[in-house]
């Protein structure tokens, strides 16, 4: 298996070109936010603008034409990246194929700079062998088997679309996932996948911050264990406390420790091409458009400062 993965890894596309600071496509926000003086690109979660249909006995994701077309108009000439949420790349029985066929179509219909997904699984087989949704994503156990499975898939996806494929480090609350000693933990798992597959990492700093708080490790020190040379995008977001856990709610402003993590990460790896501020649609009313613009501006100021440092160097 390793040979197969390594063969795929030889076809790694070039590192993404710098894009700057991006934001999700929220149709209820004013057009003025989606202008080059506010952001540099838009990160599309394509599933939001698609619905699942049974076409000839096969599940397919088809565009919700009204919202899909509105999203395209909203983005205008801004570059886009795709950030999927339905692939379930870690499901042992197989990935969610309609996601891949959706991306096949989008590749032509709405070209994207890169494609990212989450390192997790949310589909399992029931007692009858039917695929069922777990209701919330689960992290993969840090094992060789899990790493090898995902690495083969990630390499084939990267090959399929000829753009970089990035995997996002997940947030979770499970302290006792079964593990192989040689892989160890979430950082070991991601490192092995990235090394084997040639794919990149979407480093979600808010997820890192959440896990650091909930599992009691130091997030800044954890950066030492991340292949920053393979990070193609960073996420920042806000969260909230619930029942004694700090959650990745994407419900507001970016907390100060996450801004500090962004500064630290870009100081170590100023070549990272993109930073995205994430908010969930259902919480979008909690921040005014001006407040969202301010978060984007702060991210932009940090990213540009480090880009400038690279240019001077």
């Amino acid at each position: 298996m390793t040979q197969v993965v390594e063969a795929c890894a030889n076809k790694v596309p070039a590192k993404p070109e710098p894009l700057g600071v991006g934001f999700g496509c929220h149709l209820t926000l004013p057009d003025a936010l989606y202008a080059p003086d506010v952001l540099d690109f838009v990160e599309i979660t394509p599933e939001i603008f698609h619905r699942e249909e049974n076409v000839g006995g096969v599940a397919q994701l088809v565009p919700e034409r009204r919202t899909f077309d509105a999203a395209r108009r909203r983005c205008g000439d801004l570059p886009v990246t795709m950030h999927g949420v339905s692939l379930s790349i870690g499901s042992a029985h197989g990935m969610y194929e309609p996601s891949l066929t959706m991306m096949d179509r989008l590749r032509h219909e709405w070209p994207f700079r890169w494609y990212s997904e989450h390192l997790q699984f949310q589909i399992v087989l029931d007692a009858n062998g039917a695929a069922v949704n777990t209701g919330t994503p689960f992290p993969l156990p840090p094992t060789r088997e899990a790493a090898d499975l995902v690495a083969v898939r990630a390499a084939s996806i990267q090959d399929r679309y000829s753009v970089p494929f990035l995997l996002e480090n997940p947030v979770h609350y499970l302290p006792d996932l079964p593990a192989d000693a040689e892989v160890g933990d979430e950082f070991g798992l991601m490192e092995r996948i990235v090394a084997l597959s040639g794919c990149g990492q979407l480093l979600d700093l808010h997820n890192l911050h959440c896990n650091a708080i909930n599992f009691g490790f130091d997030a800044i020190s954890a950066l030492d264990r991340i292949r920053l040379d393979r990070v193609g995008e960073i996420h920042v977001a806000g969260g909230s406390w619930r029942e004694g856990f700090y959650t990745d709610a994407h419900d507001g402003r970016v907390p100060e420790p996450v801004w500090t993590l962004l500064e630290e990460t870009l100081a170590r790896a100023p070549w990272i091409p993109a930073v995205v501020f994430e908010m969930l649609d259902e919480y979008i009313d909690r921040l005014s458009p001006d407040a969202i613009a301010a978060e984007l501006e702060q991210a932009r100021a940090i990213w540009r400062r480090h880009q400038t440092a690279v240019a001077i160097a």
Partner: protein
């Protein structure tokens, strides 16, 4: 790790459904919190899927119906449109009749159906009066118990209008520019008497063009055939 990834995931899936022991310590604070998050995600998805209907209900009834839906296995659809289809089918028989909530539930179902048909809808090119006319596969007429505009405005925080007689008819169809429009009394009467073979061509023509009604010899193949298990 002993055992395969497939076995781990399968066991976890069954544990989530209460079918077997959990491969992760179910008493750990992290697992218990994960279950809370899962329940909250499922409720949240249902809430998003049927926001309009739910906002016509009192908080206690809303929470009761959401919990009941999740307890019946709801909130597990990956896509919101499918979740809405399932949840609205679950809600409909549980809402008071007559009530604004029930009418809004039917309205959301009608909009879903009209939207589903809109991307492939082609008006039937045929001389009006040439066959049996029935209700359209993606068309509906709904009788509201108050002015629909006033009702929808009231959902944003005002008092709901009284539940009056069902005198405010609205048609929904895939060929309508906004998927709906007010119906005339004659159209409402026609709808109530479908299927039929003889109707005023002047009355039928726009309804056929809008996909509200159709000739009955059209192949009955729905684009979306999957249905909500829990609603059966």
């Amino acid at each position: 790790m002993t055992g395969s990834l497939a076995a781990f995931q399968s066991d976890l899936g069954r544990a989530l459904r209460g079918e077997r022991a959990c491969p992760i310590d179910p008493h750990s604070a992290g697992f218990r919190f994960t279950m809370q998050v899962r329940h909250s995600w499922r409720k949240g998805r249902a809430m998003l899927a049927a926001r309009t209907v739910l906002s016509a209900l009192g908080n206690d009834e809303r929470q009761k119906l959401l919990d009941e839906y999740v307890d019946h296995g709801g909130g597990l659809e990956m896509f919101l449109a499918k979740e809405a289809e399932c949840f609205l089918a679950f809600l409909k028989p549980r809402l008071s009749d007559p009530s604004h909530a029930l009418t809004l539930c039917e309205m959301q179902q009608a909009l879903y159906q009209a939207r589903l048909g809109a991307s492939t809808f082609v008006p039937q090119q045929r001389r009006v009066g040439a066959g049996l006319v029935r209700r359209g596969r993606h068309g509906t007429l709904i009788r509201f118990h108050a002015d629909p505009g006033a009702l929808l405005t009231a959902l944003n925080g005002g008092a709901l209008p009284p539940v009056g007689p069902p005198d405010h008819a609205v048609v929904f169809g895939p060929g309508l520019p906004n998927l709906f429009r007010p119906a005339t009394d004659a159209e409402a009467q026609l709808w109530a008497s479908l299927p039929l073979t003889d109707a005023s061509p002047a009355l039928l023509a726009p309804l056929l063009a809008e996909g509200v009604v159709e000739y009955s010899d059209v192949a009955d193949v729905r684009a979306c055939t999957h249905g909500p298990d829990i609603a059966r």
